[in-house]
Symmetry: C2
Subunit: 343 residues, 2 copies
DNA sequence: CTGAAAGCGCTTACAG
DNA sequence: CTGAAAGCGCTTACAG
């Protein structure tokens, strides 16, 4: 330290110690709020900290403590509404807990690529949250090495997860069931389904909920139409469904898909909800402003993100174990796009 | 290390050294690709590394080297299309360069809150990218302490930035100019503007471009309508504009705003583009599927994010200085929502 | 209440 | 080509 009180680079605890006339261990005690420090000493150290603009080095802290207050989110996407909102929720909760949040994008579901990303994320230190709504995410969640703290944001599991599967989800199976029942209750003979890409080879939770509602009502079960995540997939699916005059009700795996379906029906000269009813999933910000406005199921993705972090936080800080649990109950939002069938 | 080759926790370079019968410095040389290591030694060490599953501790690396391969993105939002796409672009480029990416959300534009976030982000080590499209972002960019490497993603600057302002942008002033000219060329007497919240007290780049086009055409300049980021703001603005029968063309600061305007015009019984033409900004994924599909300006946010990282990377690695520069040229996309004025 | 020591896992000169 | 030393900035026992 020179006369002006500056060293090269930011001040360290040794700089503070020297300026305050104490050992650097005492400085450590002060910044950690350790009780056994004489009041006058504490005040002197605090004053120097302020004067020198001392900031504790997070990297050194992490190395010394053996763990860092960090969470990295592994996701296949950051722009779709649901994914982006989950990330926003995680960040919000992490910030409140003074955790830093990193993000790693799973660009491909390829085994090697996923493994590499998981490793990179693990190397950062701290815990992981992986969004497992798609094959890349599911694979990432599976390939997290034991010992690395992780929580998965998953579709509604077919069976309750075991204790060592810290998962978090919103009940989309039930939500699909409710949406389908809504359409059925309006008098439709059955409901067609345009699916988002499934996370695995097995039936998705949304598909299962839709199927159950049909079964209970004794309605015929049409073959689900495979969509994508965006409106383009919905548009293609909608064009195909529009050709079948028997189709009067369509449930879509998300609101973007529904947007494409709406457009396809319009182009095909079929009115909504006059001839065909459409319902979406998610309640994205634009859905209330479409023409017609979209009947959909509101999912609390931000809350889901917050819960994911809370669960991870519990694991990392080894506080009271938090049991895996569904988060918030999805809510059916009825708007203009659904109505009674024609005739 | 015990008989099974396991120690508590992951293997360190000392574990590897012991197992390979060399000093840990030699292990360091091997993992850093230092040339002066005998081939046979290198192979032996590599074999042990593989066997023990050794992974170099990123935290220790960062501490020893004095800097970390990390970038943290400071942004007011992660869910809006533009912001989310920039983040996606940054992550993509960062991943390719083996950098980790963190994100910090600026929840408020409040001075103290912004300063705290900037500090937190700086503590993480590595560089910063701040998205300065709004007051919180602008303030964050301004309050980054000297010495902390940072690049700003900004609106088109009014004047060329100086050398010590590493900024990146897409030419939205020009884009607004082009979109306005398009509307004017269709025969509209003037073009009304629904603005996104401005980043500062001064005129935004988009507003400036719109204004210049009007001026050049000798068209009267209506007072810009203040919107928000989402469709709700556009809806409110649209309702107001719909009341004025003289309004025949509306430019919106982004596509979400345009969506709200479209809905408001529809509710007010004014047809688009028959009575009123509407144009947006961004070319968000849903814009091509609206009814009518939206005329808009396509901005390459992902590319912008990649450029931002490239610039920061240049600063951090002290390689050839990269001059600040506009990124890609926005492209006008003409769709159904714009046409000739009535009569 | 406070200081001296050892260590977190790595790198960077310094010797040989 | 390779090892012994010192250090990055902090924390955690150990002494007193």
């Amino acid at each position: 330290m020179n006369v002006t009180g500056h060293t090269r680079g930011p001040a360290s605890i040794r700089d503070v110690a020297a300026a305050a006339g104490v050992s650097y261990q005492t400085v450590s005690r002060v910044i950690n709020g350790h009780p056994s420090v004489r009041q006058s000493t504490r005040e002197r150290v605090l004053a120097v900290i302020d004067e020198l603009g001392f900031r504790r080095n997070a990297t050194a802290l992490a190395l010394a403590r053996g763990r860092s207050r960090a969470v990295t989110v592994l996701t296949a996407n950051t722009t779709h509404y649901g994914y982006a909102s989950i990330l926003q929720g995680i960040e919000e909760a992490a910030r409140a807990a003074a955790y830093s949040v990193g993000v790693g994008v799973l660009e491909s579901a390829d085994e090697a690529a996923v493994t590499a990303e998981v490793r990179r994320a693990g190397d950062t230190g701290g815990g992981l949250v992986v969004i497992a709504y798609d094959p890349a995410g599911v694979r990432a969640l599976e390939s997290v090495p034991a010992g690395l703290p992780v929580v998965g944001v998953v579709e509604t599991p077919a069976s309750p997860p075991t204790g060592d599967q810290p998962w978090v989800w919103t009940d989309d199976r039930e939500a699909a069931y409710e949406a389908t029942r809504h359409l059925l209750s309006l008098g439709h003979g059955t409901v067609h389904y345009v699916a988002i890409p499934s996370s695995t080879r097995r039936t998705s939770a949304r598909t299962a909920g839709w199927r159950r509602a049909l079964k209970e009502a004794g309605a015929p079960e049409p073959r689900p139409v495979q969509g994508s995540w965006g409106p383009a997939g919905g548009h293609a699916a909608g064009l195909a469904l529009a050709r079948d005059p028997a189709v009067t009700a369509i449930l879509c795996g998300n609101d973007d898909l529904a947007l494409g379906v709406l457009r396809a029906l319009h182009e095909s000269g079929r009115s909504v909800p006059g001839e065909v009813s459409v319902a979406g999933f998610d309640d994205a910000p634009h859905s209330a402003y479409l023409m017609p406005s979209l009947t959909t199921v509101r999912l609390d993705f931000t809350g889901l993100g917050r819960s994911a972090f809370a669960l991870l936080h519990g694991v990392l800080e080894e506080s009271a174990a938090v049991a895996p649990h569904p988060v918030s109950v999805p809510e059916l939002v009825i708007r203009e796009s659904s109505g009674r069938p024609p005739g």
